[in-house]
Symmetry: C2
Subunit: 426 residues, 2 copies
């Protein structure tokens, strides 16, 4: 098999399909989405059998139970995925939106028109549901998509793609609007990343290693993200009683995701009052605290200290995404100390301040450079669903094109359209 | 000299400066811009002397007169550059703009706030004025900038940078907000393109070779452009009399730029009436026509044909940016033929249709995939000034972040800001 040639063909087909998709109206796209939802259910046996084969092979390789669960499809999960597809059909279609209109002195009636990007390439891990998520969001925005799921779920992705392509064909759309790369060779990812002749955007969905690989190798614009070193600063004026459940929510509600809290920064004036209560709540939930000397000194004095897991922080505990039940804690002299720490250690993902001082809130929101900055709200809100986007394609920590949660609109671009009465430039 | 280490330092300094710039109000930035305008004039002798040295060296290398003129600074040109700087001060400041506000059911009061990108890297050719253009547009948008001008103008860029940095210092701003790389070694460009730890966006200002180099080498998002293969399609319903001066404007007004017309596509029903008049006008202005067999047959029959420069087109004459007084011509059967030709040969820069049929205009604007699509308007309008942007940083032919002419707003990004009353995620 000649990977480079095969990929060129895939790219050409995707680009041709994209031209067709760009002419579709919303009703046609929504009908295709409903056909996909139905096809997932009619193809259920084939999809679940393929998934069972993937799982058996992964189990034989000694894959952990957590990863196996992430790979697993069941009739219930497949039904939920089909329901999500119907929900995408119900979302507003951003394509065709007209904005920034202007009548100019040179005679030009100008506007911007929202258009599809063209062809989107998505590289993701062993989560079969992402196949459907991304395919449907791309279809809704008239983009063709080339999918490359983790090699662990190759059979599942292939079976799902067959179902999707059958549905596309059944409503008269090109099957090549949604294509999957099933070659398990990792070199194929590198080749996909250089297919700039056909692919307009790459979205990596995975850890920071995948993101870094894409940044290094791609000649196509990459939506990067994947790393969230998240801080929350408790200012001297914060309502400490209400701070505790908020900190608990930021750390404990779902510690494995990128908007979960990693480092708690506390104004030294309120640390003695706040930290014992925080430690009481978090440690009871199983959180390990890694404390700078000043915060550790406060906690060491507490009667319950012996039952808590409080360790001295080493320097690498600041600037680390823990992706689990660990929290680093540091005292700061003031807002400037918090801003300096975040500028040094933040990853530009999610940062928060708790304060009742509007001036401190304004300085924090202005000066912290991150995709989302919260005042008196949990860091866990940095999410497409919570932001009302209806869907989340990815969370971007870069600054171009889209920053933070990306919804349907972020799968589009625009063109300038200028009309006139046979006008020439003077 | 250790280029990699020097560049790291430059990047660190730029990032530190960017933090300071992000806190500035508009008045402070405008004062700095006016100080730069004044400094260009007070440093006039030093700048012109450096420029004379660059020119002497270039002349000794046998540089063409056209390139030497592009490099040349005079007191008048320097005064015009200073005036442009004052004009940038007068433009509205996009930073801090608040948009997409929403009060969400989860208690979040959400908005997007327009913010600087951070650090911008710009690589450009032997045009000393670009140094000031880009530095001032970046300062206006609170971005730090690292400039790398062509090695031919190294002394000029260094002298201009000294003037700018002196002005910044005089108003209390960090000189490192505007830095130039004066190392003539070309390897330094490759190193700059990998400084993703510090630099948020790369803008190449030059030909397609430079753009391709940046796409291949950069780990930083690149704003690509630089190649305009521009088509104009004359539909059967077009007003042919008014089409002629428009085609003339598109081709002849400034043939060296990227929005100048390259290929004329003509509906076969109107070709016999239109083309002789077009040939008469264009050939009189010195344009060479490269025609497909059908259009050449029409022109060969004309009485004046012997005085025209009409050559048979070879396949490479379609899909080529001529950057000069050459136009390729092709007849098409209908709108579909024009759309197919543009999809195959266009570079996504600028495309136009002349038609009096609203349905044809709508199909053309919807289906043509380009940064700007014009109906009954010259392709020369694809320009930041003509679009009323006040300034043009670059013209992008890629689809992410910004497409077409980029003004001040396209030198910014946004952050999400969410405030609540100690809200937690359910």
């Amino acid at each position: 098999m000649n990977t480079a040639l095969d990929l060129m063909l895939l790219g050409q087909q995707a680009k041709t399909a994209a031209r067709r998709l760009a002419t579709l109206d919303t009703v046609t796209k929504n009908n295709a989405l409903l056909a996909i939802a139905a096809a997932l259910l009619t193809h259920q046996d084939a999809i679940l059998a393929a998934n069972a084969a993937d799982l058996a092979a992964a189990r034989a390789r000694g894959t952990s139970d957590a990863l196996l669960d992430r790979m697993l499809l069941t009739p219930e999960r497949l039904a939920a995925i089909a329901a999500d597809t119907c929900n995408v059909a119900a979302l507003p279609d951003p394509v065709g939106e007209i904005f920034d209109q202007a009548d100019l002195p040179n005679g030009l009636r100008l506007h911007k028109r929202r258009t599809p990007l063209g062809v989107v390439g998505v590289i993701y891990e062993a989560r079969p549901n992402v196949t459907v998520d991304i395919a449907t969001l791309c279809l809704k925005t008239s983009n063709a998509v080339i999918l490359r799921g983790g090699s662990d779920i190759g059979a599942s992705v292939a079976a799902i793609t067959i179902a999707i392509q059958g549905a596309l064909t059944s409503v008269g759309l090109p099957a090549t609007a949604v294509q999957s790369i099933t070659d398990p060779d990792r070199a194929v990812v590198g080749a996909l990343l250089r297919l700039d002749q056909y692919v307009d955007m790459i979205i990596p969905r995975g850890g920071s290693g995948l993101h870094r690989f894409c940044i290094e190798q791609s000649t196509i614009p990459v939506i990067t993200g994947g790393l969230g070193v998240v801080h929350l600063y408790v200012d001297a004026t914060a309502d400490l009683e209400r701070a505790v459940p908020l900190i608990f929510n930021a750390k404990v509600q779902r510690p494995s995701v990128c908007n979960a809290l990693d480092t708690l920064l506390v104004h030294e004036q309120v640390a003695a009052q706040l930290l014992p209560v925080v430690a009481h709540e978090l440690c009871a939930a199983g959180v390990e605290l890694r404390c700078d000397p000043a915060s550790r000194a406060i906690l060491a004095d507490q009667p319950a200290a012996a039952t808590w897991r409080v360790l001295p922080a080493d320097p690498t505990d600041f600037g680390t995404e823990f992706v689990g039940m660990i929290l680093s804690i540091k005292l700061v002299n003031d807002l400037d100390g918090a801003l300096e720490h975040i500028a040094t250690h933040g990853s530009g993902h999610t940062e928060a301040i708790l304060t009742n001082d509007p001036a401190a809130a304004e300085r924090f929101t202005q000066e912290v450079d991150a995709s989302a900055v919260f005042v008196n709200a949990s860091t866990r809100f940095n999410d497409g669903g919570q932001f009302g986007l209806g869907a989340e394609v990815a969370v971007s920590t870069q600054k171009l094109h889209a920053r933070g949660p990306m919804g349907l609109r972020e799968l589009t671009t625009y063109k300038w359209v200028g009309a006139a009465d046979y006008a020439v430039r003077k």
